[in-house]
């Protein structure tokens, strides 16, 4: 089982490791990958194509984001005190990464405590102006949970390895995690900031039985949208005043024209009378 886990980690990390550069948004031909290490007490070294890429990768740490060309990567995992990839505890494995998506590969415990890996696709579609997105992922060795915000359940019955997402007005919520159907927190309450235009991903990881449940948080920016428009006048007084002034100009103009015409007439008459 441990081998399997490490393989899974290798897959996730392999993608992270190659030629990546930090990035937040996937481009047409690339993918974006982050890797979360959510298995307690199991640090590893990660080699990609024979080169050490992640040294002493610790539980609770997040690697990436990396902008990666689609393709295959060969990865080997070793114990953290290994001096090279010569005797991997797992691998090498080949990872093929698909273009156009934003992933987080999470190495974590399954509901019953056996290690596994889940590749999640992050929803980076645009959020409405004024809102942010909160995604909650259950990657802990624990039964189904409710997620509470301000004391009431906003996500119910979330089981490992499921996820749930909410678009919320930007702001800070006081979030806690409780066994499904209860309100007694097993994690939190802790402030979780939902930033406008940002995907905030909260992971519940660790083990309930081992009493090392923790919260990990990943953020992905750049989802924002502009407001639909600006309605910046509702009275109409300016338009009225403008119209009034136009009329005044028009009336004034007519008056001037009339005066000119009248004078001309007077002059003409006086000339005629001579």
């Amino acid at each position: 089982m441990r081998k399997k886990v490490l393989a899974a980690i290798a897959v996730g990390i392999a993608a992270a490791l190659s030629v990546g550069v930090p990035a937040n948004a996937s481009t047409a031909s690339n993918a974006v990958l982050s890797v979360l290490h959510g298995i307690p007490d199991t640090p590893v070294d990660v080699y990609v194509n024979g080169a050490l890429t992640l040294d002493d990768f610790q539980p609770g740490d997040l690697a990436g984001p990396l902008d990666l060309p689609a393709g295959a990567y060969e990865v080997a995992l070793t114990a953290p005190d290994a001096t090279d990839a010569g005797s991997p505890v797992l691998g090498p494995v080949t990872l093929t990464l698909e273009a156009g998506k934003n992933y987080t590969a999470v190495a974590h415990l399954g509901a019953s405590g056996s290690p596994t890996v889940t590749p999640y696709v992050n929803d980076t579609s645009p959020t409405a102006a004024g809102e942010g997105r909160l995604t909650v992922r259950h990657v802990a060795a624990a039964p189904a949970v409710d997620v509470l915000a301000g004391g009431s359940a906003v996500i119910q019955g979330l089981a490992n390895p499921d996820e749930a997402s909410l678009d919320l007005p930007a702001g800070t919520i006081e979030a806690s995690v409780a066994a499904a159907g209860t309100t007694d927190p097993v994690i939190g309450p802790a402030p979780v900031e939902v930033q406008e235009g940002v995907l905030t991903i909260a992971y519940a990881w660790g083990s309930l039985e081992d009493e090392n449940l923790e919260l990990a948080v990943q953020t992905i920016t750049g989802l924002h949208s502009a407001p639909d428009g600006v309605n910046s006048g509702t009275g109409g007084q300016l338009a009225q005043r403008d119209m009034f002034q136009q009329w005044m100009w028009a009336i004034g103009g007519l008056a001037v024209a009339a005066a000119v015409a009248a004078s001309a007439l007077v002059v003409a008459r006086s000339r005629a009378q001579r």
Partner: protein, 213 residues
């Protein structure tokens, strides 16, 4: 003593091993297995070949913006306080009810931000108030200076680049509310024909000013 020497020897071995591992600048990243020499120095811990950002998966505090509190365009007698605003129901930019108060779009850039436009808007008029100072935005001459003061007391100057009427449906919101790129000041109000049935003006009047450094 022998132990100390052994220790020195071990240190040297590490140094040598590190040297052996390091590639000269410009060399292609080595994909081959470490050399036999390096392997022999069992105490050497190699360093990663490429840099991968790794950090604890904990909430990173967002940058706290410094809101603008006052905007002055002396040439058109605009000197108004500014308050942060967001989005109103329906998705439009929220605005202070009083046309004599500007609203700064708090989800966009603040004047101190390194990226993106600072958007400040005010009603041109409103049934319960007199016509507002932004009614004179349309008369703002290109090249004039607009001053924005933020909550920290810093004042920044911007030079007017354009004043444009947009039919409301054609307001280029993605450009005006851009979060990256130019650090322009964008002043928005209403103008054009007023439709008394809808209580809406036909156009937005948009002044764009660029930072004077």
């Amino acid at each position: 003593m022998a132990r100390a020497i052994a220790g020195v020897g071990a240190s040297l071995a590490i140094v040598l091993a590190l040297t052996a591992c390091g590639s000269p600048p410009g060399a292609a990243p080595s994909a081959s297995a470490p050399s036999a020499t390096a392997t022999a120095t069992v105490t050497a811990d190699p360093t990663p070949a490429v840099e991968v950002p790794v950090a604890a998966a904990t909430p990173s505090p967002a940058r706290r913006p410094v809101p603008p509190v006052r905007v002055v365009a002396a040439s058109i007698e605009v000197d108004v306080p500014v308050v942060p605003v967001g989005v109103e129901a329906g998705g439009f930019m929220e605005l202070p009810a009083d046309p004599a108060i500007g609203g700064w779009y708090r989800f966009g850039a603040d004047p101190a931000a390194s990226d993106g436009n600072v958007v400040i808007s005010a009603h041109v008029d409103s049934p319960a108030y007199p016509i507002g100072p932004f009614s004179r935005l349309r008369d703002l001459p290109v090249g004039d200076v607009v001053e924005v003061t933020d909550a920290a007391g810093d004042m920044r100057k911007y030079a007017v680049e354009s004043v444009t009427y947009y039919p409301k449906a054609e307001l280029p919101v993605d450009d005006l509310f851009a979060r990256s790129g130019a650090r322009s000041l964008v002043l928005i109000t209403c103008g054009g024909e007023f439709d008394s049935r809808t209580g809406r003006y036909a156009d937005n009047v948009v002044a764009i000013a660029t930072p004077i450094t």
